[in-house]
């Protein structure tokens, strides 16, 4: 029996479909969610999240947020989320380097805050992109 997963960001509903399993990085460690999980509200930390659907693993890079589980309905409120296979590793590396550079040069509070958000996101993206490559080999 599958469960319904909804991934929501501040911009839009990214995904809404039936899945068999979710593995997500929470603040207290990675957890796996199967259908009929007990009701749970937890904080996600940046990392790789995978969805298993019809035996297929779909990896995502998530930069933080919340996961709410209510029996067969899971809602993930993500800060940013991206499908791992859509991340181009070389570009992610460049983006990370650029974010780091910006953080170094940031003068105002605003620039520092911006650069921190960006850097945190880029680091996770890169990690997830690399993990994906390791698994393929």
């Amino acid at each position: 029996m599958p469960m319904h997963l909804e991934i929501v960001t501040a911009e839009k509903v990214v995904l809404s479909e039936e899945v068999d399993q979710i593995n997500a990085p929470t603040r207290d460690g990675r957890i796996g969610v199967l259908p009929r999980h007990e009701p749970l509200m937890t904080i996600l930390k940046p990392g790789e999240m995978t969805i298993i659907k019809n035996g297929e693993r779909i990896p995502f890079a998530v930069s933080g947020g919340f996961m709410e589980i209510l029996s067969n309905r899971v809602v993930i409120l993500a800060d940013t989320v991206e499908r791992a296979d859509e991340i181009d590793e070389a570009r992610a590396e460049r983006a990370r380097a650029l974010a780091e550079e910006r953080l170094k040069n940031a003068q105002t509070d605003r620039d520092i805050a911006m650069a921190e958000v960006k850097l945190r996101k880029e680091v996770v993206r890169l990690q997830v992109a690399q993990m994906k490559n390791i698994r393929r080999q």
Binding site: F66, V75, D111
Partner: protein
């Protein structure tokens, strides 16, 4: 009366203007539709956050502790105001309305003995605040048509941290609320302290919170405020394009009216010239016949 050649030239130039305003109207209309979609798409997140806060504030004892975004301070010395405007004009009275609302707010606050620091999104608002000489604490220009939340977080985080650290005792946002294509209203909203909504009814009592309810609440609150700021920016963009669309439609109509009027003047001038010529010929012929 102007020469018919001059009138002809004016007709041509007014027609050109009408063509441009018509094109701008159509561009604005299509961008407005996209902006509306973005506003709607962003709603589920903010709604869910609000529900969460409603549930958690009931559960967490003493959730309005010091430095929390829920904390109501007995004495308000300084407030932060976020002003959201478009980067460009040609949108009727939209900018003027937002700026007027902001000015009234600042003056009201000052009358109560409070200081106001201003944050701005959009070039027009920034320019106004600088010109008026109000203290500008942070700004962002070139927001674009469809910003992502991470693009706009810089100023938002600065304002939220300002509240948490105690620099600001209250946070407000003024923006152009999108009501429908014809109506946009300059609106002011309180961002912090967060007014906890009544918890949604239903059987959600048996939730386990990890690591704890308190920590979840601490994480949710700033994101909720940030998403509200984001929502206001998206609404402002939708408002901007619908105001621009209407303004350009009016401009096109005025230009067309003007062309009609000028054409009439042109025809009159032409007729007068012909009449004059005919009467000259006639009187010339009459003179010859004598």
């Amino acid at each position: 009366m102007a020469s018919s050649r001059e009138i002809k030239r004016r007709i041509r130039s007014v027609k050109n203007v009408a063509q441009i305003t018509r094109a701008m109207e159509m561009v604005a209309a299509s961008k407005m539709r996209r902006a509306q979609r973005n506003v709607l798409a962003a709603r589920p997140y903010a709604d869910r956050m609000r529900d969460l806060i409603g549930e958690l504030t009931v559960r967490v004892v003493g959730s309005a502790k010091k430095g929390s975004l829920l904390e109501k301070r007995s004495q308000v010395r300084r407030v932060g105001l976020i002003v959201v405007t478009p980067d460009r004009g040609l949108c009727g009275s939209l900018i003027a309305n937002v700026v007027r609302r902001a000015t009234r707010f600042i003056l009201d606050q000052r009358a109560m003995g409070r200081e106001v620091d201003v944050f701005t999104y959009g070039k027009k608002g920034r320019d106004f605040i600088v010109r008026a000489g109000y203290p500008l604490a942070g700004e962002m220009v070139k927001i674009g048509d469809a910003p992502k939340i991470e693009d706009i977080l810089g100023v938002a985080i600065q304002a939220v941290k300002g509240f948490e650290s105690g620099r600001y005792d209250e946070l407000y946002i003024v923006y152009s609320e999108y009501i429908n294509t014809l109506v946009q209203r300059a609106t002011i909203k309180q961002l912090a302290p967060v007014e906890a909504p009544a918890p949604a009814s239903g059987a959600r009592a048996d939730f386990t919170y990890e690591p704890s309810q308190e920590e979840v609440l601490t994480e949710v609150l700033p994101r909720y405020v940030e998403s509200q700021i984001y929502q206001a920016i998206l609404e402002s963009i939708a408002s901007f394009y619908s105001a621009q669309m209407v303004a350009m439609r009016n401009a096109t109509k005025s230009a067309k009216d003007l062309v009609k009027e000028l054409t009439l003047t042109f025809n009159k001038a032409r007729q007068a010239a012909i009449t004059k010529e005919v009467s000259e010929i006639a009187s010339g012929a009459a003179a010859l016949a004598e």
